[in-house]
């Protein structure tokens, strides 16, 4: 623009610099008419294709033409409807940098702390205790307490049962473990595991957390009851008794878990319990031994061997599933319900 004062006057009049505004930009089709503006030309040529005049009068005329074009364009473009405005506001809002949010900032500070392995594990395990609510605690305790009358030989005799409390504990321990694990992993079939696995814990932490609480509570209950049994029942040996329920609860817990990766937990639990009863029957009744003989090393030794084998099999099943553990734990790839 040769005449600077005139150019400045024009800019003041227009509110923008026509030299910039008239720059057609790469790829612009100057021959294409602007919507609603038949007169959008200057000196018979499309706007933008002629050099910006230097003469003041010509510039004033150009300003008038541009204003007319702008008015015509405004008239041709209707006001945006509310939906378009909302869309524009949403798009622009999304692009606004997030303001400093105290909540997000405090979260980031918490997560930035790097606790040790033990603290991380405890942090992952501890919340899962909330999943096992009052009915679980009470039902497990009630089941263990239900056999306490057997501590009195008179009660057992009056009931016609040849059963000590120690033997009773060995029989109910697998039931406790099965029901506990099936209950703790019920989220696999209800869809909750899908949500839980998008929280801040790994599948392994989820599995170990739940197994820990079930096994720890069962051990506490059965441990206390075993001490009572060993103290009051002369035929019961504490070491064998503890071995007799500890191995089964471990093997049943792992078996129910591994089956629950393929079938709903209650189906897996029922199958594991049925298998357990079959083995127990084979080791006692099929050998003409009373069910009370379950506390006898004659039964306990082969039972322990079965348990060890079962643990290896179940662990192998979980290891085989490991690459798809998240998907299976989320209940998205179980038998009869694949995604």
């Amino acid at each position: 623009m040769g005449n600077r004062p005139d150019a400045d006057r024009l800019i003041r009049v227009l509110g923008f610099d026509p030299a910039e505004a008239l720059d057609p930009g790469p790829g612009t089709d100057l021959a294409a008419p602007v919507p609603g503006s038949a007169e959008h030309t200057w000196a018979g040529e499309p706007v933008g294709s002629v050099p910006v005049p230097e003469d003041g009068d010509e510039l004033a005329a150009l300003a008038e033409a541009l204003q007319a074009a702008a008015r015509a364009q405004d008239a041709a473009w209707p006001d945006p409807d509310p939906a378009e405005t909302r869309r524009l506001v949403a798009a622009l809002t999304a692009l606004v940098p997030a303001p400093e949010c105290p909540f997000a900032a405090e979260l980031e500070r918490t997560w930035a702390r790097q606790p040790g392995w033990l603290a991380r594990t405890l942090a992952a395990v501890q919340p899962q205790v909330r999943l096992l609510e009052r009915p679980f605690w009470l039902a497990s305790a009630a089941l263990v307490a239900a056999g306490m009358p057997l501590l009195s030989p008179d009660v057992a005799a009056s009931l016609g049962l040849d059963l000590t409390y120690g033997a009773f504990l060995l029989l109910v321990a697998p039931i406790l473990a099965t029901l506990g694990v099936a209950h703790a992993f019920r989220g696999i079939s209800t869809g909750m595991a899908e949500v839980e696995l998008t929280c801040a814990l790994t599948p392994a932490q989820l599995v170990l957390g739940r197994l820990f609480w079930v096994a720890a509570y069962d051990t506490l209950l059965l441990g206390g009851a075993s001490l009572l049994s060993a103290a009051l029942e002369p035929s019961v040996m504490l070491g064998w008794l503890v071995l007799g329920w500890l191995l089964p609860i471990l093997v049943l817990a792992v078996t129910v878990l591994s089956l629950s990766l393929y079938v709903p937990p209650w189906v897996g639990g029922s199958a594991a319990l049925a298998l357990w009863l079959l083995i127990l029957t084979q080791l006692t009744l099929a050998r003409d031994l009373p069910i009370a003989a379950v506390t006898d090393p004659v039964v306990l030794l082969p039972l322990s061997a079965f348990c060890a084998g079962g643990l290896i099999l179940a662990a192998g099943l979980i290891a085989r599933t490991w690459p798809r553990l998240t998907t299976r734990l989320a209940g998205l790839d179980t038998w009869g319900r694949r995604f």
Partner: protein, 210 residues
Amino acid sequence: MLELADVTVRLGGVTVLDSVRGRLGPGVTLLTGPSGAGKTTLLRTLAGLIPPSAGEVRWWGQSITAQLKAYHRRLGYLPQRPATYPEMTVSGFLNYLSALKALPPALAARRRDELLEALGLSARAHSALRELSEGQRRLVGIAQALLGDPEVLLLDEPLESLDGDSRARVLQLCHRPGRVTLLATHRLELVPPGLVAHWSLDAGRLAVES
């Protein structure tokens, strides 16, 4: 920024998602498509629940599998089924999930109360989830997804069973500067305008409509 880099998911020999490619930026993106188009599978893949058969999901340029825990901390996810533990109370349920999300207890309690207020559920805070209507359970599900004020929000059919007022509340909560939200629905009429983008899935293929 969430990116799908040629993501293919095959399930039982069937290709459910076929080389899906796209970028999800800040704002609410609508995901539509007929039943069986692969919407839920796409959301589960984005949530890290289903590993892609090919391709990868990237969050800020890096595969989510390489940073799953960090990604999950910043993710809010609502599955298609309103999943809850029916015997838990609304507060108990949200407290449980806050703990799983590793939220500091005091902050989590404040956030829980804010969300219950915003969703009109304050009066039901101590009700068992089994006592709630399906719509209220879905609102609780949305509250759990929003607990950690997530950067990435994946909602599968969040507007089902909700009345107009609740739908407006939910959509208002979805908007937050910088948040990437993908909202899947098969009922377009439930969604008001004001969304950044619209993705349409058909037979596992993605058509991106701005």
